[in-house]
């Protein structure tokens, strides 16, 4: 949809930034679906707070990407254009973020898996050669630290809870585990940028696995064996769910272009 730069490194940086922006936005949007439907008022507020945190992070990344694209193609592009006017095959979010929320256990586990990845990812990204990415990572890290703590505590309580709660979170692990590999299977733009403006995800994989295993163990849950992993999100190849998400999220801007508050 947007013109490519003659400089491959610039293109890669735009793609990298959009990958981070899209992952946060789609996850934030999914979590916002809980608004008014949380199991208790306190959890309704907690989950929507997390959704807002993620959308805030997404905005920071989108604003950066919009600035870069505007410079590359010489025509103004805004964060709203990127969020509301791109189609599914242009989105680069991790697949796990677009999966349906399911029940509370599944949502908690989605937040847990994503936020642990974001925690180690942003910790490394602070050392990026790109000052803007570094700054966004530093700001986001505090929010993500809380997301990890909150979701870990819920995983433990659901797992080490009643028979019913343990069953539900065990099912959620079965459903979501095949989507946790994508985070550590870098695509071309990630490989091109690693250890300069981007990070090397293989350097955080062990930390991720250790943390996830520790929490699941305390929750008296099983850590699944290595299994086949779904991929494609970062290349714009998505599940059937993303189309529906975008149809809802983008409807207003597409039906009434340029609409403002």
């Amino acid at each position: 949809m947007y013109s490519k730069s003659i400089n491959k490194a610039e293109d890669d940086l735009v793609d990298y930034t959009l990958f981070l922006a899209d992952s946060s936005l789609i996850m934030g949007h999914r979590l916002s679906e809980w608004t008014g439907h949380g199991p208790m008022i306190e959890q309704d507020i907690a989950i929507t707070n997390i959704a807002l945190d993620l959308i805030g992070q997404a905005r920071n990344f989108y604003q950066y990407a919009a600035g870069m694209i505007t410079e590359i193609q010489g025509k103004k592009v805004t964060e709203d254009d990127l969020a509301y006017l791109r189609d599914a095959n242009e989105f680069k979010n991790l697949l796990i973020t677009e999966l349906p929320n399911g029940d509370w256990a599944k949502t908690i586990l989605k937040v847990f898996f994503l936020s642990v990845w974001q925690f180690y990812f942003y910790q490394k990204l602070i050392y990026s050669e790109d000052k803007r990415l570094s700054a966004i990572a530093e700001k986001s890290l505090k929010e993500v630290t809380y997301h990890v703590k909150w979701s870990s505590d819920w995983v433990i309580r659901l797992g080490d809870g009643t028979e019913e709660s343990q069953g539900k979170i065990a099912n959620a692990i079965e459903d979501l585990w095949p989507y946790t590999g994508e985070m550590f299977m870098p695509v071309e733009f990630e490989n091109n940028l690693k250890n300069s403006v981007g990070i090397d995800v293989s350097s955080i994989k062990n930390d991720y696995i250790e943390k996830v295993a520790a929490v699941l163990k305390e929750a008296t849950l099983y850590v699944p064996r290595e299994s086949w992993m779904h991929t494609g999100g970062k290349k714009g190849v998505h599940t059937e769910h993303l189309g529906y998400i975008l149809a809802e999220m983008q409807f207003l801007q597409r039906a009434y272009p340029g609409l403002e508050w």
């Binding site: 199991p39 208790m40 008022i41 306190e42 959890q43 507020i45 907690a46 707070n49 809380y146 703590k149 909150w150 505590d153 309580r157």
Partner: protein
Amino acid sequence: MNNQSEPLWEVFIRSKQGLDHKHVGSLHAADAKMAIENARDVYTRRMEGVSIWVVESKYIHSTNPDESESFFDPANDKVYRHPTFYDLPNELKYM
């Protein structure tokens, strides 16, 4: 959620400039850790505070409004209990 598994907790928050924790409301939670996280999510969204105390409501004991008269009225007219009979030098006027 029934009340057995989700007791009620009273929440006290100390603001950034404050010295004491003030009562801001209550919430339900299964245990102390959840109560603190819920309090953070519900009662500190707009930077209301930098420290949270939570106490299970059942551990807070209070005076009985029916006994208010005998409990508090007698203190109302005992002027000799107040330290107001000293002549303070001007330098200490705003103590």
